[in-house]
Structure formats: C-alpha cells, structure tokens
Symmetry: C2
Subunit: 239 residues, 2 copies
DNA sequence: ATCTATGAATAACA
DNA sequence: TGTTATTCATAGAT
C-alpha cells in the first residue's frame, strides 16, 4: 500500500526563521512584535556587556509610536550626565578648583565606591539566581540598620550571604543610590553649566527627580525574566 | 594498511564557540577583545532595530578603561535631550505658551521633517550599497545648491537617484542637521531649564558644539564595514 | 585581524 | 505568548 501524504498545500517549507532584509517593516503589527523582541535582545546584550567587561552603558529607545524605553547600568542618568560633561569642550573637568567648594564634596568618591560595590553584588546575585536558587516574592523589609564604624555599604560582602540578604542589600543600595544621585546631580549640573557663563543659583537639578519610579524597576520585576537582573530599565512612561 | 592518525593531543575537541558564564572577565586582554566584539554587535543590533522599526536610539558606552563610545540615530544628542525633557516631571511640555516666543519657533517641525527624510535616504542608501553597487571613496563636492521654492530637502526623492547622488544628499543633510541642531539645541536647553526657576539668559547651549567631529563619523568611515551605514557613532574621544 | 564550530537570537507559525 | 527551524553572533584558536 502506497500512502501519499501531504500532497496538498506547501510540502512543508518549514517553520523557523528566515533571512530578512534590513529595511523598514511596513506591517504595523509585525513591526511591533519585532520591536519588542529586538529591544529585549538589545537590552540583554547590553546587560551582558556590562557584566562581562564592567562597562557602563545607557540606552534610550524611542519606539515607532514614541514610547520611551531605557536601559542603564548603573543608571541611565549617570551615564548621560557623564556623556554631557564629556561632550563639552572643556578638557580639564574637575581639574580647576572652585572657590566656594561645596561642603559635601566627598560624595563623589563615595559614589564611586558605591557603584563598584553595587556591581559586585548584582553579579553575585545574578550568579546565585542562575544557580537555581528559587526566590519567592521579595517582601522588602529594607533598611537593616546603619552600624557605627565605616559606612555599611563599604564593608566587604561575606561570600556566603544568603540570596535573600543579597536581594535586600541590592534594594537598600538602590535606595541609597537614589538619594546620593539626588545630591550628586545638583553638583553635576552645576559643573556642567559652570564653564559657560551664567552660574545658575539653585534649583537646577530637576530632570532627575521625576524618574524615581523608573528606577525602581531595577531587578524587581519578576516577569520579563531574562535580564532584569542587571541594568536599570523602564518601560514606556511619558508621551 | 591501517593508519592511525592523531592519537596524540586532544582528539580535536574543536575550535568554535563555547558556552560562557556571564560574569566579569578577569583577564584584561581577553576582556578588551570581548568588549570590542560585543560593542560592535550591540551597535549593529541597535542599527537594525532603527531601520526595521523606525526607532530612535541612543547608546552611550563607557569602556572598562573609561573610554566613551556612542551610537545614535538620528543623533545621540537629540535622543538624550528628548530623554531629559521626558524625564522631567512636567507633563505638558510645549503645552503652555511662553510669553516672549522665540522668533524661529517653526524650526521644530522643520527638524522633524528633516529627520524623517533623512531616515529614508539612509535606508535607500543602505539598500543600494547592499545591492552590490561599489562606491569609490567619496570626494565631497557637497552643497549642490538651494533652489527657490520650498526647502530642497523637503522634495520627495526620485526613486532612481544614483547612489552617488544619494551619498552626497546624505552628506548635505548631515551638514544641515548640524546647523539646525545648533539652533534647536538652544531652544531645547531653554525649555529644559525653564520650568525650574532660574531662566538662564544666554550661552547655555555649550555641550553640543563640541562633538562636531563625532558627528562626522556618520556613514563616512569606510573601515568598520558593517553598520556605519546607519546611526551616528563615535570612537573613544575624551577622558 | 581572520577563521570556524557552537551558542544564541529570532522570523515565521500556532 | 510560546515553539521551532534557521540565521546570526561570537569564543577560542590561529
């Protein structure tokens, strides 16, 4: 008995990927799909680059419908500020001392330390998670307590911290970063504007305050799986 | 005759890629290599996302040794400015009219038109190039000429423009964008700073002027092959 | 920098 | 969204 099967229709050209030309996708809906997938891919790649090489990256994406998506490690705004400062012509930044030195000028090295620390914790955490340790929904009892000698976030991390502790640590650090960023930002803005005439008296550090809820996304979303364990990203927000 | 070959050494485990763990690479030199390769990959992905979906993307990367690398379509600074404006709390941007309206306020829609036009030309050009048309080193005779009625960059492109013409068109558009950006930037900065107190009198648009040479990279480098046909990117510059 | 085998990302379907 | 067949990116070696 000879059975002829599937004479009808396509012989089975296959499912699976096909090569596509890199040109604007006209079909709106498939464009949307592609955008989502590729944006995810892009952010994941960025995240990996951050972890592997200790790079600092900010990505700002405006979707075809003008929604904004961001990725940043350690934080979009730091990178952007650095970019802006770097972009300025002035070669000696931070070089020339200002007369009326701002009191808490030592916040900068502190920030640097924090950032490096933060990096390590995040990596540690990612590794732990990957090792299959299951984390239940983290209820945040944050703010363990500030001990007396030395900043608590400066102490070396015990290698065998429980993952839950790590997670809380990260949350705490994030909060701290928020606060520090708020302060640091004023200084950054100040230094950005300084070389070019008008020295604005006060209240210039506005752009930062608004994205508090964007910042919270960091490492907290349980959906989206893959790469939210690293980098700071926000979904569509304004516009 | 039985020939036994390659009993020695590894049976040949292979060349080719191996799975790696996503953790900080300690070996500095291989970290550098990985950084280069992956940064390229990242920018290429971004570029494709721009073309496929008409997205606007800015990427700022600080290498482990603090060199800066940028990608931007249509231009890092536009995206960053938009991000900063969007990040601000103020929901109605551009909504409330300012009293002393700046004279050339219509530069904004013009800019938008330019951008869209620019997008298309770039895509067209990329497509042409991919089709195997060889372009010799472009000597730029730029500045074809400004005709009388309607802006020249507003006219629809003839479908059969020669590739060389396209290339020149792109160069011209880039120059124009530079100029327009210079003007627009002042306004952007102004609107950025406006809602938060001190209205700086003048000379605030500094950060932009400096990266003129970074902007020139766009589509002009013949080396680097892949993706410099799209997006605005610069190598390490300052720091 | 160049070359491959392999690991990953993803276009087309469901 | 989730699945699968493919193309694409890239780790390791040259």
């Amino acid at each position: 008995m000879v059975v002829i099967k599937k004479l009808t229709k396509t012989p089975k050209p296959s499912k699976g990927r096909k090569k596509i030309e890199i040109k604007k996708i006209t079909n709106k809906s498939s464009q949307q799909v592609t955008f989502s997938k590729r944006r995810s891919g892009l952010f994941k790649k960025a995240s990996e680059l951050c972890v592997l090489c200790g790079a600092h990256i900010a990505i700002i994406v405006f979707s075809p419908v003008h929604k904004i998506f961001c990725f940043g490690h350690p934080n979009v705004d730091f990178i952007v500020d650095r970019y802006i400062r770097g972009t300025s012509l002035d070669p000696d930044q931070d070089g020339g001392g200002e007369e009326g030195a701002i009191a808490d000028d030592d916040i900068v090295p502190a920030l640097r330390a924090l950032n490096e620390d933060y990096d390590e914790v995040l990596q540690e955490l990612a590794r732990e998670k990957q090792r299959g340790v299951e984390l239940k929904g983290a209820e945040r009892d944050r703010r363990a307590g500030g001990s007396g000698d030395g900043f608590w976030w400066d102490k070396a991390l015990d290698n065998d911290l429980a993952v839950e502790e790590l997670e809380q640590y990260v949350i705490a650090v994030e909060e701290l970063m928020q606060k520090v960023a708020m302060k640091a930002d004023d200084m950054m803005m100040r230094s950005l504007l300084q070389p070019y005439g008008a020295t604005v008296g006060a209240a210039v550090n506005a752009a930062e305050v608004g994205d508090a809820d964007m910042a919270v996304n960091h490492l907290l979303h349980e959906n989206e799986g893959k790469f939210n364990e690293y980098g700071l990203m926000g979904g569509p927000s304004f516009y």
